[in-house]
């Protein structure tokens, strides 16, 4: 085989493969737009909130009320998170804090400091590696999500603005797959069996 022959074969093969199967994509646009239309009520709520918060000449009192209520909620959440983080004596700012629930699951708090991030999520075998968003309501760069998990062994990683962050300092261990690390956490002494 000539040195560059593999380049051409590879290029041809990948294109041919897609050409053979891309018929399945017909109607994708309609399908996605339909699904987005179904989600529209949720989007409209956020649009409404944005409009309420936008500066206009009229209705200033109403807007200030919304701002005040939002700030109060953020403060409450921030206070709650700060308490959770402060209760950790082992690591600076990061904590997985289990608290028992009645069905045997434990509420596990995922916390990650990411000061400049705009989108932080956690993926793991507990959510089929589909992102669960972390939130930072008080904009202090500490992102949190609380997820109820039954006892077991869990592999997970954070995704910060699309970048994989597999080494949580508080993890019980790490595994390497696909060339990258994931964190391992044991909840309730479970072994993930």
């Amino acid at each position: 085989m000539k040195p560059n022959e593999i380049d051409d074969i590879l290029r041809d093969t990948l294109r041919q493969e897609v050409a053979e199967t891309a018929g399945a994509l017909s109607g994708l646009e309609e399908q996605i737009l339909g699904e987005l239309d179904e989600r529209r009520p949720r989007l409209r709520v956020s649009d409404w909130l944005r409009q309420m918060l936008a500066p206009t000449r009229g209705g200033r009192i109403g807007q200030l009320s919304v701002v005040g209520a939002t700030a109060a909620i953020c403060l409450l959440i921030g206070f709650f998170v700060a308490q959770q983080v402060a209760s950790d004596g082992n690591a600076p700012g990061i904590r997985l804090t289990p608290s028992r629930a009645t069905d045997g699951s434990q509420e596990v708090l995922f916390v990650l400091p990411a000061l400049d991030a705009t989108d932080v999520s956690v993926v793991g075998n507990f959510n089929s590696w589909e992102p669960t968003a972390l939130s930072d309501e008080d904009n202090d760069g500490i992102w949190t999500a609380s997820i109820p998990l039954p006892p077991g062994r869990y592999e997970y990683a954070f995704v910060i603005d699309g970048r994989w962050w597999g080494q949580d300092p508080l993890a019980d261990g790490y595994v390497q797959s696909f060339g990258e690390y994931s964190s391992v956490r044991y909840v309730g002494g479970g072994d993930g069996a």
Binding site: R11, T13, V18, E29, L33, S128, W129, F178
Partner: protein
């Protein structure tokens, strides 16, 4: 076809809630995204799922897209991350693989008529570790630069070059071994 042609205007219109504009974006990029997913995942049904999810996720997160950066790179990053998540899921929930064809692909007559070389490459590509396969797909299907591939896969540019070089060598070796087999 949607009346606006340039990409930035399409994205701005999409941001303002004109879903028709997003439909045009999907039309322009669906083959590229599907090809990426098919190359990464080697499974047609999964590739279709992830292509769909990538466009939904991109739309929902469109406000986070920086218009100064290349849209395709941002979109491919979303698709690549979803693919990686699906591969991790498949590690615990495997599906039957058909190595010489993509599941649910062409009809048998087309498969028989297909160039043997392509069959060999498909099989070798499926057996290649993900870490080598992904850069090859982005390079040879999506025609991306080393820099863009590095951004999408969150690995250094030098690593991309190494993996593409070694990936091609591994492919070549597997194909030649297959040919030498009696």
């Amino acid at each position: 076809m949607y009346r606006v042609q340039d990409e930035v205007s399409l994205l701005r219109a999409s941001l303002e809630g004109e879903t028709e504009a997003w439909g045009e974006v999907i039309s322009r990029y669906k083959d590229a995204v599907f090809g990426l997913c098919l190359g990464f995942l080697r499974n047609r049904a999964d590739a279709e799922d992830i292509t769909h999810d990538a466009f939904i996720r991109a739309y929902v997160n469109l406000r986070r897209y920086n218009l100064e950066k290349r849209f395709s790179t941002w979109l491919f990053t979303i698709a690549a991350n979803l693919c990686r998540n699906r591969l991790r899921y498949r590690r615990n929930h495997p599906v039957a693989e058909l190595p010489t064809q993509i599941r649910g692909g062409a009809d048998p007559a087309t498969i028989v008529a297909r160039d043997d070389r392509h069959v060999e490459v498909r099989e070798a590509l499926t057996q290649l570790p993900y870490g080598y396969r992904a850069p090859l797909v982005l390079r040879f299907y999506n025609d991306l630069s080393y820099r863009e591939i590095a951004d999408i896969l969150s690995i250094p540019e030098g690593t991309v070059k190494t993996r593409i070089h070694r990936g091609k060598a591994m492919l070549k070796q597997r194909i030649e071994e297959e040919r030498d087999r009696p």
